[in-house]
């Protein structure tokens, strides 16, 4: 790389421009916006998992000094659109899950609100509930979705005469666990609703809230300059925001604040569905795949269908004459599932990449060579060429950096004191998504800087910095000459940055806007010159299959006495096109890998079947990997030039780090112990139980 390129804004190693504001506390998050005389909302939640509210006595609460209002379904606060059951807050006495909003107290302080909430008597009539996902659930159905079932070739024939792997994997109900809870500050004044919101999309909140409350979009102003993590849980509007707006309407002219407690986030903030996944692989003796089938069962709310395309990556990861996938849902009395950290690929690739490892073991073929052997020259299902596909390069380069060569594939052979040691590998992939329709505004200011405005978001990933770099690159000016504005509906429209499409979509938009600006105003504009424009369509989008790829390597140690798993080393090597900012990119990738470690070893929302209740409702019970769990962790990327994906040549990286990393750890645990734990998380009790069973058989 020449110096001339290295010093360009795109690709420069720039520290976070908002870093000083964050570490000094000057960055303002939703709850902290200074407003005069706010009131506080405290939600009342159902304790039945299914049934109805048959009586509410709020008299005592209403008499408590400082209580401004008690909201219940009698009378139901008016909504214009109640078609989404999750957002039809307080519209009926029906209870669809334990922890649903069945009322709220609006009070002068949070403490008074909490006190009053305890004084409201809610009588519920419970009906029989079911919160347990199982393959033979009588209500299992095939969701109405184009890609629910796919069949390419004759999969059953490919599995004959001998299916080499037939294994069922499960991943538990998981929770996004953002540090900042779901928070809304709402203020009605005249005909305008102002929201300070912890969200992944200000324009998404505007659209949804306007629909639900029957407002014009312009009547809803949403601000979210800083967000303390979302991981999908703040990608869509949930009931808490609707409740905050209702509460604000009850005290017009006064701002109301609603921050869910950690416990409330677990039921109201959405979650990842548990999955049961059966993967079958048929292969010839040399490891050539003949057939892949991937059948998935997940849950959804009984009153709303939500589906993740969990087997999506199985349709494109490896070459096989026949590939078939199915998805089935069991409707249960559970909170509403939604997006979480690579919603489909994270659980789906866990199963597929473990199955590939099982195939390698069964065929006595190196796990990397097996993957390379089955690398498809074109998208196996659509037949489209890859815009770029460098899984093989990631595997090879990763193997070299990790020291894979000479690895003895036999399990349970390496012992270091009390520890059994092992290594594992897994592939990763994530689609290059592009959400069209965003706009950006470029204005040349009197101070010589370009103000670049777009309703983009920084959910903690570094957008304030990386998007400013893109803008500088697009305009051909140094970074210092860009003044970026994001995180507000006052700025030009932008789509929700789901699917790791943030930088890619916003960046393409900025490139389009910069070009339009230069076309109109040239390289020497006058102060006040401005243009609002979007990105032109990308003609390559339909011609190519576009995906990012990666290879995960993990070293684990398992305590031979207790089954405790430690991960001293993780390495990910990725093919992600052009990197906008190596510092924030690395941070996102190792963050994703840490989530993968967490998924492999820790995270599980436990539901009590009898109560229909989540019992892991705090961060002491719902474990997410902490610092001590993460050892030597590193992310690297190959030089990849993809001329087709977009003007910058970038691929999304937000979710790639988690995809496959749990499988690499699970495969390493097998290598260390000889025990294949197919049900995540891999906790000490599962290894110990398997060991006791193994030694009982021996």
């Amino acid at each position: 790389m020449s110096d001339a390129i290295a010093t360009r804004p795109l690709g420069a190693d720039v520290g976070r421009l908002d870093g000083p504001r964050k570490v000094t506390g000057a960055a303002i998050y939703a709850y902290e916006h200074p407003l005069t005389d706010p009131a506080y909302v405290f939600p009342l939640l159902s304790t039945a998992a299914r049934g109805r509210v048959v009586g509410i006595d709020a008299a005592e609460a209403q008499r408590l000094p400082g209580v401004l209002a008690v909201l219940t379904h009698e009378p139901a606060p008016k909504l214009a659109d109640t078609s989404n059951p999750e957002l039809a807050v307080l519209q009926s006495p029906a209870i669809h899950f334990r922890g649903q909003i069945v009322g709220a107290v609006v009070a002068e302080s949070l403490e008074i609100g909490a006190h009053a909430a305890a004084l409201v008597c809610i009588e519920e009539q419970a009906s029989e509930h079911d919160v347990v996902l199982r393959v033979d659930h009588p209500d299992v159905f095939k969701p109405d979705d184009d890609e629910t079932d796919t069949a390419h070739g004759d999969a059953e024939a490919g599995l004959c005469p001998a299916a080499t792997v037939d294994a069922t994997y499960t991943t538990p109900h998981q929770h996004q666990g953002a540090m900042e809870p779901h928070t809304s500050v709402a203020l009605w004044s005249d005909d305008t609703l102002r929201l300070y919101e912890s969200t992944q999309s200000v324009h998404g909140v505007r659209e949804t809230i306007a629909e639900v409350f029957g407002l014009r979009a312009e009547q809803v102003e949403v601000t979210a300059p800083f967000v303390g993590g979302g991981f999908g849980s703040k990608g869509e509007v949930h009931a808490n925001t609707v409740l905050a707006v209702m509460a604000a309407r009850a005290v017009p002219g006064r701002p109301v604040k609603l921050a869910l407690t950690r416990r409330q986030v677990f039921t109201l903030g959405s979650h990842r569905t548990p999955t049961i996944q059966r993967v079958r692989l048929g292969a010839d003796a040399s490891g050539g795949l003949l057939a892949i089938t991937h059948d998935v069962w997940a849950h959804t709310s009984r009153v709303q269908v939500y589906i993740d395309q969990i087997a999506a990556a199985t349709r494109m990861m490896y070459a096989a004459p026949s590939i078939a996938t199915t998805h089935r849902l069991a409707p249960l009395d559970v909170p509403f599932p939604s997006w979480m950290r690579a919603p489909s690929e994270a659980p789906g690739m866990y199963a597929l990449e473990c199955a590939i490892d099982e195939l390698a073991v069964a065929l006595r073929i190196d796990a990397i060579e097996l993957r390379i052997h089955n690398d498809p020259p074109a998208d196996p299902v659509s037949g489209k060429p890859w815009s770029s596909r460098n899984l093989v390069a990631c595997l090879r380069q990763g193997a070299e950096r990790f020291g894979w060569a000479g690895r003895d594939p036999a399990p349970r052979r390496r012992r270091d004191g009390r520890w059994l040691a092992g290594t594992g590998v897994a592939g990763s992939t994530y689609p290059v998504f592009h959400t069209p329709g965003s706009q950006a505004r470029v204005e040349f200011r009197a101070d010589g800087r370009y103000e670049v405005s777009i309703g983009a978001m920084d959910v903690g990933t570094g957008t304030w910095t990386s998007l400013a770099q893109v803008a500088a690159e697009a305009l051909g000016v140094p970074l210092e000459r860009v003044a970026l504005q994001i995180g507000d509906t006052a700025l030009p429209y932008s789509h929700v940055p789901g699917g790791s499409a943030g930088i890619t979509s916003w960046g393409a938009t900025l490139f389009g806007a910069a070009r339009a600006f230069r076309d109109r105003h040239g390289d020497d504009p006058a102060p006040g010159d401005a243009v609002t424009a979007g990105a032109p369509d990308n003609p390559a989008e339909d011609a190519y299959a576009m995906h990012a790829f990666g290879a995960h390597f993990a070293e684990v140690r398992v305590d031979a006495d207790t089954g405790e798993v430690r991960v001293p080393r993780m390495l990910g090597v990725f093919a992600i096109g052009r990197v906008v900012n190596p510092r924030t990119a690395r941070s996102q990738l190792i963050g994703g890998m840490t989530f993968g470690l967490s998924m492999a070893l820790h995270e599980e929302v436990v539901m009590d079947a009898a109560l229909g209740a989540i019992v892991t409702t705090d961060l002491a019970g719902y474990h997410i990997a902490a610092n001590a769990d993460v050892g030597d962790i590193d992310a690297a990327w190959i030089d990849e030039i993809d001329p087709h994906v977009n003007a910058m040549g970038t691929k999304g990286i937000g979710e790639l780090g988690i995809v496959g990393s749990a499988a690499a750890i699970a495969n390493a645990v097998f290598h260390a112990t000889g025990i294949r734990v197919r049900d995540l998380p891999i906790t000490p009790d599962k290894l110990l139980r398997a060991r006791v069973e193994l030694s009982a058989r021996a």
Partner: protein
């Protein structure tokens, strides 16, 4: 959260007087457990008597070689004390394996002993729980019991005690000094925590209004060769699935001259493994003897639906701990 009164006690006498006769009053020290409970709606004291300034925060030598730990000594300070680290290493390790740095900076010695179970049903006031609401039933019995007791439980309560520190103190026969309306009394730590029986709402034998003022660690040579092993789901910041505090003294022929063993995570109280100790005294330090000792203690275990693994885990953890402690110095 219900409104409450707050008073700051100047000394322990004043604190005890403030609580005497007020059933709805509670002491507040580090607040790391009680304040959570107030937010969750598990505890709603009418009066908080803040003893954080009244309690002794010093660690002093006792005549004869023991240590007196003021009840106000923060967990972080106790773990860092050189005398504790040298003479009672299992205690320092137990402290450091608990909670997080931030919590250890606040939590006190007295409060740590009195922290309440992390049973998720106890912590959720919308579920039945005999400990929180006597007679309402035990949700855990048919529920999620991975963290629950396998020893000494009753049909009324299967909760476990969460403290690490108390497990090590139990192995060392600490003495808890308590001040009440009637004056001072001393309680052997083995008699402080109780089994649930049919009164699961009572965690300890303290009477209402009694205040822990100090914990005495006796002079104990064996304690210098001790350790604490905590088995948990995460490398840090997780409660024990199983933990072991152990101290050994080997005779010149490598038989056990003395041994101290206590378990955490197995019962409603820190569990002194007297059966295992009896099994080991006088026996040679062999793997077979360690196994036999574990078996002697755990034979009475009654696992629930999700926690049968604790028997193997406790047994293995004890064997591994004894192996480590009895390994010749050169091999360690």
């Amino acid at each position: 959260m219900k409104p409450f009164e707050y008073e700051r006690a100047a000394d322990t006498g004043g604190a005890v007087a403030a609580l005497a006769g007020r059933r709805g009053a509670a002491y507040l020290a580090g607040g790391t457990n009680l304040v959570d409970h107030m937010k969750l709606g598990i505890a709603s004291p009418e009066l908080l008597v803040d003893v954080s300034r009244a309690l002794d925060a010093r660690i002093e030598e006792l005549p004869g070689g023991g240590l007196r730990i003021g009840a106000g000594v923060r967990n972080a300070d106790l773990a860092a004390d050189m005398r504790v680290r040298k003479r009672y290493p299992a205690l320092a390790r137990a402290l450091l394996s608990g909670a997080s740095g931030q919590l250890r900076n606040l939590a006190t010695t007295g409060g740590n002993l009195l922290q309440r179970t992390r049973c998720p049903y106890f912590q959720d006031p919308t579920t039945p729980c005999n400990k929180r609401e006597p007679g309402s039933g035990c949700s855990a019995l048919d529920g999620h019991t991975r963290q629950h007791a396998i020893l000494g439980a009753s049909q009324h309560c299967v909760a476990t005690h969460p403290s690490d520190m108390a497990v090590a103190m139990l192995a060392f026969d600490a003495v808890v000094r308590v001040r009440g309306a009637g004056g001072l009394r001393e309680i052997a730590i083995a008699d402080l925590h109780r089994l649930p029986g049919d009164v699961p709402q009572r965690d300890t034998t303290l009477e209402h209004g009694e205040l822990i003022t100090d914990v005495d660690l006796p002079s104990l040579e064996i304690a210098a060769r001790s350790t604490y092993r905590k088995v948990r789901d995460r490398a840090s910041y997780a409660f024990a699935l199983v933990s072991v505090a152990a101290a050994v003294e080997l005779a010149s022929d490598d038989t056990f001259a003395d041994v101290r063993i206590a378990f955490g995570g197995l019962a409603h109280k820190p569990w002194r493994a007297t059966l295992a100790e009896d099994e080991l005294r006088g026996r040679p330090a062999t793997e077979a003897a360690f196994r036999a000792a574990a078996h002697a203690e755990l034979a009475a275990a009654q696992p629930l639906r999700d926690n049968a693994f604790k028997i193997a885990m406790a047994s293995n953890a004890l064997v591994a701990t004894l192996r480590e402690l009895t390994m010749p110095r050169a091999a360690r």
